[in-house]
Assembly symmetry: C2
Homo-oligomer: 164 residues x 2
């Protein structure tokens, strides 16, 4: 590991955060956990990574308190759910500047309005917590693994997905 | 490169965003650029990384349009400045859950209120763009490089810093 995982001499809470969520694939695991994925096999279906890498990332997230084990499942803690604005804002930034097609659309479930980039509802004017967000597939969603197929139907964030 | 840099089979704008900002050190470079750092030597003073790594990261950010060259300096584009909410929210998450001491405090320059976690001003009620944010050092700021010392005094985000 030429570059290591920590940022020992950075006196900065962003560096501390990146020590937990900054490794390759980790924010995509958190994305899927926000979508409702909880099983190892379902994370694996969505992410094309070796089991050993997925295990190591999940272990880091468990140790940091972002995920908690519930039986054989991995569930986001409240600390983990607080990463929703980061995942949403960074995804929308990517969509706006780097993407051609929208893959996921996030709506305020209560009123059906599409969330603003900052995660608030333009109609109700308040930040929408993830449990009140409805996820829909956009035209850019093309993966065909079982979890992605399940997500072709509208789905509430954090509502458990168990497909494989 | 066992894990590569792209996420080729992820049909997701978050994956596209992470291809640009997800490499190790990159978000810390963007953090410093938001603070006003523009010179290669000043980025180097703040980050303890080899020149080759810093060069490669800056090159990726130039190619993606996050940074633009202005003479010998690196300046954030509007696309780059839009990463402020991500940097702020993730840093505040780290402060809240992983840090003992606050290293940076972000105030709405117009009224002196500390920003909410979502980057808005609790007194004015609106999201505060980075150019209206005043940065102050907190008790956890202990680095002694020239840029960090400069940032011990209150400083407006994006206002150029040139110290080395």
């Amino acid at each position: 590991m030429a570059l290591g995982k920590d940022y020992a001499f950075q006196d900065c809470s962003l560096a501390r955060a990146l020590e937990v969520v900054g490794e390759r694939w980790t924010l995509l695991i958190i994305r899927d956990a926000l979508y409702g994925v909880r099983r190892f096999s379902d994370f694996q279906a969505r992410l094309d990574i070796p089991k050993a890498v997925l295990s190591a990332r999940l272990q880091t997230l468990l140790e940091a308190g972002v995920l908690a084990k519930e039986g054989h499942e991995y569930a986001l803690t409240s600390m983990g759910r607080e990463l929703w604005p980061v995942v949403h804002t960074l995804g929308r930034w990517g969509e706006r500047h780097l993407d051609s097609e929208t893959c996921r659309i996030f709506l305020h479930a209560a009123c059906g309005e599409r969330l603003d980039i900052d995660g608030s509802c333009p109609s109700c004017g308040t930040p929408v917590p993830p449990e009140d967000v409805e996820l829909r597939a956009g035209p850019g969603a093309v993966r065909e693994d079982p979890v992605s197929r399940y997500l072709e139907s509208p789905h509430r964030l954090l509502e458990p997905i168990r497909v494989s």
